[in-house]
Structures are given as C-alpha cells and as structure tokens.
Symmetry: C2
Amino acid sequence: MGIISEVNERLRRARAELENNEIDALLVTNTKNLRYLTGRDTGRALIGRDNAFLWVKELYLDLYSELYSNEGYEFEVRIYEEGAIKKFINKSGIKRLGIENIGISEFNRLSREIKGELIPCNIPETLRAIKSRYEIKFLKKSADMAKKGMEKAHRVVKEGTRELDAVAEIEYEIRTLGSETPPFGEGMLLASGASGADIHAFAEMKRIRSGSPVVVDLGARYRGYYSDMTRTLVVGRLSKKEKDLLEFVENLELEAIDRVDVGTKASEIHKFVEEEMRKRGYKFYHSTGHGIGLDVHEIPNIGPNSEDVLRDGMVFTVEPGIYIPGEFGIRFEDMILLKRNKIEMLTR
Amino acid sequence: MGIISEVNERLRRARAELENNEIDALLVTNTKNLRYLTGRDTGRALIGRDNAFLWVKELYLDLYSELYSNEGYEFEVRIYEEGAIKKFINKSGIKRLGIENIGISEFNRLSREIKGELIPCNIPETLRAIKSRYEIKFLKKSADMAKKGMEKAHRVVKEGTRELDAVAEIEYEIRTLGSETPPFGEGMLLASGASGADIHAFAEMKRIRSGSPVVVDLGARYRGYYSDMTRTLVVGRLSKKEKDLLEFVENLELEAIDRVDVGTKASEIHKFVEEEMRKRGYKFYHSTGHGIGLDVHEIPNIGPNSEDVLRDGMVFTVEPGIYIPGEFGIRFEDMILLKRNKIEMLTR
C-alpha cells in the first residue's frame, strides 16, 4: 500500500464517522490530522461526504505536486487565499461542520464567520488510534532508532559525565540514524540523582555521580511517526532500597503489559499499576501510558479517568515510575503493539 | 532582581489588566504562562485581585519548596486533587473568570462545571510581549548559543556532507553549550538545494551539493528563553541569480530592521518587506517575524493582518525569505531587541 491508497482508506473511515455523527463536512487544520488525512502536513482540508478539498499556499502547489497530481488522489487542490475557505463553506450549504479541538478564540471567530453549526469532534484522532500495517512499519523503524539511542545511552552515561554532554551524544546518535527530529518536542530527558524525581526534569550541566539511578527517556521520529522509551540506568552501586525499587518497577511494567488485551479498559491497566504501588507504600504521580503515532501523546490514554478501550491495532506506551523527592526517580517504559490479540514490544 | 520580585511585578501587572477587563480572577494552565506568572511550569494557578493560589502535585511540593517557601512569594501553594480547583472557584463567588485560549472541548467542560462566566483573554501573553531586564539577560545568553551554533554550521556545512549529519553536529554543539532543548520544537532546519524552497523542510539523508544555497535556521533555550536565527550559507559557487537574491534578501532584512521603532505598526514592517519583494517580482510566503521569549512564537506578530504595535522592551525576529519551487530558498533572520528607541541585534 502506498500513501495514496492509505489516504483513501482513511478518508473512507472518516466519512463513515461523519455519517455516524450526522456531520456534513469536517474542517481539518491540525498539522498531524492533515498529514493523516491528506498525506502532507500543510494547508487546510475540508472533507465532505463525497468530496474533499485541500487549500495550500501557492508555493506548496509545486513542491507537493507529485502527490497532488496523482490520479488516485481524491482531494481537489486549490490555492489558499484569505477568506476563501469560509466563503466556500458558506456557499456549500453545510449545516453541520465538524471541527477539531481548536482554541476558544479561533472557535469564536469561526462561529461568527460560518453560517452552519460548528460541531467539535475528534474524528481524526479516533481514527489515528488504530494503526495500519503501513503505519506500523514506520513505528517499528522509529522504535529501532530509539533502541539504538538507548544503547548509546548505556555507553555514555557514566560517573563524572555532565548530563547535558551525555544528552548531546545520544541525540547526535539518534539524528545520524535518520531521525527527522530530536526526541519529542523538547529533547530527551536524562535525570540523575534527585533530578530523577522531577518527572519533567531537563538535563543540566551537573555531573552524573556514582551510586545514582539515571532516568533516560528518549525517542525518534521516522516518516512522521514518533517512538518513546525509558530505562533507568545504574551508575556505580545502588542502595538496597534503590535496587529493590528498580526491580519492582521493571517487573510491574511487564506485569501491566501482561494484562493488556483487546477489550480491556485502559483505566484498568492504570488501576492495577496504581494499586501495586499503593501496596508497597508508594503513590503513582502520572498516567501509565499513552498512544503514540504522528503525535507523541495520542489516543488511548492509559490513565485513571480514561474511557478508552484497548483495540486491535493500537500502539501505546506502558511506563510506571516511582519518584522519591530529594532522592531519586525510577521509570521503565516500552512501546507496545496490540495486534491479533498478541502483544509485540517494539522497544525490547 | 531575583525570580521572586520578578514574579511579584508580573502579578502586579496582571492584576492591573484584570481590573481593566473587569475580571475577578484568572485561571492559568498553560505551562509557559505558569512559568511567567508563578516561576515554575507546573500545576494550575488562580490569580485573584488580591490573592493568588497555586495547585501542584504532592510530588512537586517538595521539589519546588525552595521557591514556594520563600516569604516574598505571594502564591498560597496547595496540593492538587481532582475537582479541587473548580470547587474552590465556585465557592469563591467569582463572577467573571478569565481563561486562556484553551481548546473548545476543555472550554465546554469548564462551562458546565463553573458557575461564573468564562472570559477568554490573553492577559499573560500580552504581558509576556514586554521583556524585563531579567528576561533580556537570558534571551541574550540564548542568542549567544544560537550564534555559536551558527559558527559551527559554517564549519560543517560543505559539499558532500549529509544534511542530517550536519544537523547532528550543530545540535550537538548547541546542547553542549548548555541549551535546555534542541532548537525549537522539532529540531533545527537545514535545507539545501530545492528543499530550501520548502519553508518547513526537515533535514534529510541527502548530501549537500556544490553550487547550492543552504538555509540554516536554528536556536537554543536558556532558562526557558528561546533564540532563533537563520542564515543562508553558500556551498561552492552560486549562479548570478542566486547571488543577487542572497544579497537582496540580506539587505532587505536590514532595511526592514531600520524601520523598526516604538509605536510602529508591526503590519507596516511586513508590508514594506512584501512590497520590496513584489517590486522585484517575488511573492512573500510567510510573516516577516514573531516575538520570542518563553515560546518560540509569541506577541508581536509581524505579519499582514497583525494589529500589534511595536513597543519598548519587545524582542522579536525579522526574517524575509524568497523561495523558488524546484530550485532553492533564501532566508535571513535575526532576533532584535527594541529598547529605549534603540535597536539591538541579539544574533549579530
């Protein structure tokens, strides 16, 4: 399957959802949703029940012509001009226009300009949660880059190295492997000693000390698809408490993954992890995991209040962590694929 | 000035805006706004006319206690629990609650839960547009890292080097200098040959060829503050057309900067650039520039429809670019500070 047939299949699924929700057309402006539904991450798209339009800057018409000039491509591509899209929508007699989770100020502006009713929906995000074989191929490649980045981490994380120097080495490795971006939005996380207890700690100029667990959370991006994995590396000798917790958290990750199955509620996986930690006297301060694909965080949310149900074709992370303020943090995370009732660990 | 007195001054300015807009209290959830108004980028804050509350996860209470336990810190820090904030807001009798530009689905949820009226506003973003001396210090340090990154680019961008390998070297340099993140959200931009005509091109595995302008757009982050600069490097000998355009674009950048003054409309700077390009037979496909600080893109917007006016204390970019699809791209960008009617170029 190439990108054209892939996009056409996605359009078919999107239209089924439009029908289910009695929506006449869907306006797409989010770059990830654009990439998913149009094949490129630029412009603005309007997907109707039996037509599809894409407005792009004149500049891009030429750059992306290979895709847009393809006979099988359903989108009618037009040059974007100020006001063109709202005029088109109003002329088309669209009564119920599906929109993404846009900001309230943009929503209010659209409400004034569009005659029809605006229906907030998350149709593209819901479709994106189920990965096709085409997408899984890219996710695996991206996960492989993360794995190799972690191998590099094992080599460079050692006593006396500055956190930021280790990060520079690991990110360098991931980039030269071909990752389209550095890990995630804001770079990878590498936190030694007490910084490990800060879930979102940035690497600092400080040196890694012996006898410290070091949380390393990294990923890559290949053909738009992100990967994400975490290991807690050991520098020097840990205390008994640290060693026991390290083993506990890694085992808990694997036990939680054992409970993953098609039809399982995501919140139940989270509750299991939370309960196991509680039994041992610890609180769990974040969600157990998240779907991953064109965004680092997408559906399903494996958290306490999630209403998501695990489905065939989902790819998501499982990442329990224990954090002791002032002392250290420990987290293990893998990306898993749920396919035909089997679990495949993409980052092991 | 330390962070505490800095935060208190920001609170004072925020409250003046609350009064101007007849808003009883402002709910802050955006991480950049949190960082600006509370000194840290976690939790949720509520800023009233004469009080201020910050809810954080129990885990962070300890991590950030140095800040929060300071006597001069106005925020009353509380442990975050599900539903605690909306209960507090409803009990406080807040009639008009200021909110940021949150997503429409979150807005609708809040509307159901909060008794008072929700008033979308951009008070924190407006305040953030004017930088204090404290902030300018960090922006300059961040700009210095970008400059050094660009010096590295001059050394590694050469014939035969793969784009991604050059990127890996430059990002490595920026990280080891102490940048908290890789450049921007998605890494730096390095685009040679025809890719240069794609405004958002990602670096690829392809080798840089001789006789090609190479667009290099990079930055750093120091103490939360981003920097951003672009140069178009020359590899080998350019054609006359390329050479002339390179000179034209760089001169145009400097001429546009010459027109910057306190009280000037941002849109006028953009119109000048657009008009100069038009005279030469080219279209201008993006905005002329953007404010920069805790976000890479913030107020002011130097674009065609901007209503922003340039003010003392603003820091923003000026970045004209010309793109010839299928051939090449050229862009020059600097970060400038407008202070006491003088312009300081932070990236030259």
